[in-house]
Subunit: 162 residues, 2 copies
DNA sequence: TGACATTAGTTGCGCTTGTAACTAACTGGA
DNA sequence: TCCAGTTAGTTACAAGCGCAACTAATGTCA
């Protein structure tokens, strides 16, 4: 008899099952943030992600936005359309490749971005408040590893996966 | 001038923004697991959670299931109905309180549970493989703190929140 | 006992989502 | 130059979701 226990013999406790726990905390995160954006600015998570990327990078194609913010292209398409309709972004055809368009924040979009950023950072701050910095660093490093491995295990959409 | 920087002055980088990162990793987790359950057993995440809780606790009301697995009562209701339709669970009225019913796995449900558990554990194992145990412990402790605080920040559904 | 509040669970509804199919545009080799 | 293959982005469709409203049963308090 081996001292090594077969995995099949171990019991499962959902509340300690890592995929479940990550899903729950991610759900809380997006729900809480969604409330902030939704109630004060009338936008959802996908719209927020588009704005955040444009605020950071200035000008992007929808494809770039999707890749940077891990969103399906249809979600990006709809979010950009919505923001366009509200006058928060513009779309400018790329003359060198007329399939794609450069999306950028309008002045109104930039003002909105400038309003949201401090709220988002304050939210994050309040969330991690009181957690020891070096523990947080470990947490973030492990999180990065899990995310990278999870990306492959999940096979993110039809993209890459070589 | 204070050396303490005002939060509003800091820049936001979405890919380092914690709520975003948690949401992404949670998405990968549920997508990857959903594939395993979906392709091999034809069930979704909500159904899996119901089965997992019943496999662990034996007999529960829908209310209990929802609380234990962080699901909205309508989601629980639909998942239980689906599992009932497939003959994987039974519902037995509680005679002491006829509003509620005890849900339990049938023999077929228990067999399914016994099949899924090792796969779920193997998946988790493969995911955390190679991560230093003490880093993982730190990770899980911080995760628990973030989850608990996130629960309050999000105000999980219409429940509690006192 | 009776009336009102609360709770477990279901269902109608509208919204969001991903898949698949599509259009339009570009690429690269023969 | 042409044509098959690829890519950016949109849209039709069906499935899944939460909210609100509902039913039926229980709890509470006078």
């Amino acid at each position: 008899m081996s001292t090594k226990q077969k995995p099949a013999d171990r019991a499962l406790h959902l509340e300690q099952f890592l995929p479940y726990r990550l899903n729950v905390v991610g759900f809380f995160a997006s729900r809480a943030l969604g409330r902030v954006y939704g109630t004060r600015f009338g936008i959802g998570i996908p719209e927020w992600r588009v704005i955040a990327q444009l605020g950071e990078f200035g000008q992007l194609t929808s494809r770039d936005i999707g890749e940077l913010s891990q969103m399906h292209k249809t979600k990006v398409s709809r979010a950009v359309s919505e923001l366009d309709k509200r006058g928060l972004v513009t779309r400018a055809e790329n003359r060198a490749d007329r399939r794609e368009a450069f999306v950028a924040l309008t002045a109104a979009g930039q003002r909105l971005y400038a309003q949201i950023v401090p709220l988002a950072l304050a939210f994050e701050e309040r969330w991690i408040e009181g957690i020891a910095p070096e523990e947080l660093r470990v947490f973030e490093r492990v999180l990065a590893m899990l995310t990278e491995r999870g990306r492959h295990l999940a096979g993110a959409y039809q993209t890459e996966e070589a």
